[in-house]
């Protein structure tokens, strides 16, 4: 065991963990909006809108995240037309490509989580709102959405942890996130076990924190 290496690599790895957290939080925020949008589309009665939303979640859940990143980072740059638009400013940056891929990916899973949460809301609750004369819009924003969010908290907590692990793929498109830096240190020192313990420890610590935040929120928003 090379303890000196472990202590020396800790600051570098902690610095990289900040990038991991940045990638995670931005993708989660964008992904939440995408997920909410597609969950609402899934509940739409129009069969084409419904199929479109289902197709989106099916494709993004059925293919590896690595393929999605590669299509966005290596693939989209190939389209000449895109290179001439303002989108190119975003798409030439590996950072934004990774975030687009992560957001679309977590959006697909989030849409499924929220959809099932919406569907488990008892019709009686909505009917109660209607009989009180509350408008449809207010029922949706003030009754359905808060209940759905509470309902989906445990599943969403799992999704956050899965997404945190997913951000490690950013290292495949040259980003130096926690896994990227860990790989760099391993390949220069050839001490995989030591680096794995430190980097893995940081990941576990972040998992632990996220787990507890979700637990706290679950308690805070519980029905009793």
């Amino acid at each position: 065991m090379d303890f000196e290496l472990m202590i020396n690599s800790l600051p570098k790895l902690l610095g990289a963990a900040v990038i991991t957290l940045k990638l995670l939080s931005v993708s989660l925020i964008v992904g939440l909006f995408i997920g909410l949008l597609f969950a609402i589309l899934r509940l739409n009665k129009n069969i084409y809108i419904n199929r479109f939303a289902y197709g989106y979640s099916y494709i993004f859940r059925g293919t590896p995240l690595l393929v999605q990143i590669f299509i966005i980072y290596f693939g989209l740059g190939q389209i000449e037309y895109l290179r001439s638009t303002f989108l190119w400013v975003i798409l030439k940056e590996p950072y934004w490509c990774a975030i687009i891929a992560f957001a679309l990916n977590t959006g697909a899973y989030t849409s499924e989580i929220l959809r099932s949460a919406f569907q488990t809301i008892k019709p009686g609750i909505i009917e109660a709102g209607q009989s009180l004369g509350i408008s449809r819009k207010t029922i949706f924003y003030k009754i359905q959405i808060p209940i759905a969010i509470r309902q989906s908290l445990p599943a969403y907590g799992n999704e956050i942890i899965l997404m945190m692990k997913g951000t490690s793929l950013a290292s495949t498109v040259t980003l130096m996130d926690l896994t990227g830096v860990a790989k760099y240190i391993i390949s220069t020192t050839f001490k995989p076990i030591e680096v794995f313990i430190v980097a893995g420890g940081i990941y576990l610590f972040m998992t632990f924190i996220i787990h507890n935040i979700i637990k706290f929120l679950e308690k805070k928003y519980s029905f009793n």
Binding site: F74, L76, Q78, M164, K165, L169, G200
Partner: protein, 230 residues
């Protein structure tokens, strides 16, 4: 379309072989995962706290650390570990393990952590009376498990195992970083030499979708088979 032609002109046969490789790695990893689950599920359910702890460390660490990091650990540390063990037996030559073995082991250990949780959940949700009845009938420990618990456990576990299979199948794409020529690696090679990454990565996505779709069909059949009588 000529990019997908079989033979020397296209990448059809290469991609076909790569797809077979992905299937082979996924199945091997899944089986390695099952053997890990066979060790760690009893530890999880054991009445000894220290054995519980060992199993909990395994599942928590593997499920909390990115798959890619685990793969790097095996990729860079695998042959070192084997050589260390070999040197204890007096063998000091350089040993290289091939990418298939390293990859299947790395993915297998990950898949095993998920399988362990699935089996634990399935056994715990079997009615207590079943265990007692098996005991009262005077069956041997082996028969209790093999004839009474296992069939019921499988029925409960199959829906969740199909999730584990999907995760495992998608995780195999990460082994491409070690150079094993599966779908992702082959697409990377093809994209590099034809300068058409959009086409080849999209085609890779289609291949993965096809694999997940077909395996779901197959698993649904298994599910029907094991739910007979319910």
């Amino acid at each position: 379309m000529e990019l997908l032609a079989f033979g020397d002109t296209g990448w059809g046969d290469e991609l076909f072989r790569a797809t077979l490789m992905t299937i082979a790695v996924s199945i091997t990893a899944m089986l390695i995962g099952f053997s890990f689950a066979a060790i760690f599920t009893p530890l999880k359910l054991s009445k000894y706290k220290s054995l519980n702890l060992v199993a909990n460390i395994y599942t928590t660490v593997i499920r909390g650390v990115p798959e890619l990091l685990v793969i790097y650990l095996f990729f860079f540390g695998g042959s070192g570990a084997i050589m260390f063990v070999a040197s204890m037996f007096g063998y000091n030559e350089y040993i290289e393990i091939n990418a298939f073995v390293t990859g299947s082991f790395a993915i297998g250990i990950i898949s095993g952590a998920y399988s362990t949780e699935v089996f634990r959940g399935a056994i715990q949700s079997i009615d207590k009376g079943q265990f007692e009845a098996a005991k009262v009938l005077g069956l041997s420990k082996f028969k209790q498990f093999y004839k009474i618990i296992l069939p019921q456990m499988l029925r409960l576990a199959i829906p969740n195992l199909s999730n584990v299979w999907q995760i495992t199948l998608k995780d195999t794409s990460l082994i491409s970083v070690t150079g094993l020529v599966e779908i992702m690696r082959q697409s990377y090679i093809a994209a590099g030499s034809t300068r058409d990454p959009l086409f080849f990565y999209s085609f890779a996505a289609v291949l993965y979708l096809l694999l997940t779709f077909l395996s779901m069909k197959l698993i649904n059949k298994l599910e029907v088979k094991y739910s007979r009588g319910y």
